[in-house]
């Protein structure tokens, strides 16, 4: 009996010693396959405020077309109104007036037209940072022009059977359409004033033509020497902040 009481007392003492030790230093049992991993650092959240859908309108005018007209037979002047959605999507309407008056030095065939044109499309800001005032964009346009043209040339003489008649047509009607693929840049100059340029690849969709002539120049498109052509604009741009909200309300 005395022996049993000694064993119980010593066992209780051992347990009490281990319990005191566990409060100072935890016991960690590592398997051989375990590895120690570094703790991942999670930065505090700094979320930018969400942009409102409507970011205002942009008004722009092209100055390259009139300059080209000073040094060539054709040119155009145009203005555009662009809607800014989230600084990302830019539906756009372009309206302009094209003019051409040319005479080929070899064939002596003259062509003249002057008429308005219309384009509608959308640009997409491809910069990752949508909060910047500078923009790099790609876009597409559908162009349309309904116009009249004059074309005349030397008399046409039949070299075999004989006979001759003048080649002269006035107010020939044409309605033509085309597509444009746009790449452009826009840089903030001062406050709401921006400047930028665009390069455009244009593809004919439909060229309305009478039997006696294909229109040589289509206002807004350019010359029809091929079924596609390149064009460009250099724009003066002004942001109109009508009703613009930078950040979504309530956020």
């Amino acid at each position: 009996m005395e022996w049993l009481s000694k064993v119980l007392l010593s066992t209780l003492l051992l347990l009490s010693v281990h319990t005191v030790g566990a409060q100072d230093e935890p016991i960690v049992i590592l398997n051989e396959t375990d590895t120690i991993r570094p703790t991942k650092y999670i930065a505090p959240l700094t979320e930018k405020p969400k942009l409102a859908l409507f970011q205002g309108f942009t008004l722009s005018a092209d100055i390259l077309g009139p300059i080209i007209y000073l040094f060539s037979d054709y040119g155009s002047t145009e203005a555009a109104l662009r809607l800014n959605l989230k600084n990302t999507y830019f539906p756009i309407i372009e309206v302009g007036y094209g003019k051409c008056k040319s005479t080929d030095v070899e064939t002596n065939i003259s062509y003249s037209t002057s008429a308005p044109f219309f384009r509608a499309g959308i640009d997409f800001n491809i910069l990752k940072n949508k909060y910047m005032d500078n923009r790099l964009y790609v876009g597409a346009r559908f162009g349309l022009s309904s116009f009249k043209f004059d074309m005349s040339g030397p008399n046409m003489t039949d070299p075999i059977w004989g006979g001759s008649s003048p080649y002269s047509y006035h107010d020939a009607k044409s309605t033509s359409s085309w597509m444009e693929f746009v790449f452009g840049v826009q840089v903030k100059i001062w406050r709401n004033f921006h400047m930028g340029w665009s390069v455009r690849y244009k593809q004919e969709l439909h060229i309305g033509q009478p039997s006696y002539a294909k229109p040589y120049y289509i206002p807004g498109y350019g010359t029809t020497t091929d079924t596609s052509c390149w064009g460009g604009t250099y724009n003066l741009i002004f942001d109109l902040n009508w009703g613009k909200r930078k950040v979504k309300s309530g956020e």
């Binding site: 080929d104 064939t107 046409m156 075999i160 006979g163 040589y216 390149w230």
Partner: protein, 193 residues
């Protein structure tokens, strides 16, 4: 920046202007040859194509019994010295469009600007008879590009032919322009074996 400069250089090169007129900037009606069954052939006989022109001309006809009658535009004393009888007559003016062609699968023939119908005369070396093809058409002027000049395009309305060597003729593409498409099929007598 280098990449942007490269792209702009390519764009500048592409934007260079060039003459876009077709190399063969001539409008012709294209007659392709077939046998009676419709098999494309090369016509082996030598042939000349002439067309009638507006107006008349004086011709000299030399005849001799047992010899082929000869018609020429100018008097020729060689025939009278050889015993031919000379007759002066009036005939339609004509001109040669294709001279002594042979082994051809097609011919390209110009069309008149201001006539409603063209008359083509096919003369063969191996047979004495000739074929006449009359093609009616509407002609209209056209300018594709000012740098390419003016042309007359045509719409073929109808065609008919005699039957010396030709079986029949058929319009397959009525629009005659400078695209060089086949416009008329001429089916000759006989079948290729």
């Amino acid at each position: 920046m280098k990449r942007l400069f490269g792209i702009l250089s390519v764009l500048a090169l592409v934007a260079c202007s060039s003459n876009n007129c077709p190399l063969e900037n001539i409008v012709t009606c294209n007659y392709h040859f077939y046998d009676r069954e419709g098999v494309a052939i090369k016509y082996g006989d030598t042939f000349t194509v002439t067309t009638l022109l507006p107006g008349t001309k004086t011709v000299y006809i030399y005849r001799k019994l047992g010899y082929t009658t000869v018609t020429v535009d100018r008097p020729d004393t060689a025939y009278t010295n050889a015993g031919y009888t000379e007759t002066i007559a009036t005939a339609r003016r004509d001109t040669v469009l294709i001279n002594k062609a042979s082994n051809r699968s097609y011919v390209q023939v110009p069309m008149s600007y201001y006539n409603k119908a063209d008359t083509l005369v096919f003369a063969y070396s191996s047979i004495s008879r000739r074929d006449t093809i009359i093609v009616q058409h509407d002609a209209y002027p056209h300018v594709e590009l000012p740098e390419c000049g003016t042309h007359f395009y045509h719409n073929l309305r109808s065609i008919r032919a005699t039957d010396a060597a030709i079986d029949h003729v058929e319009i397959v593409n009525p629009l005659v322009n400078n695209e060089k498409k086949e416009n008329v099929k001429i089916y000759f007598n006989g079948v290729v074996e």
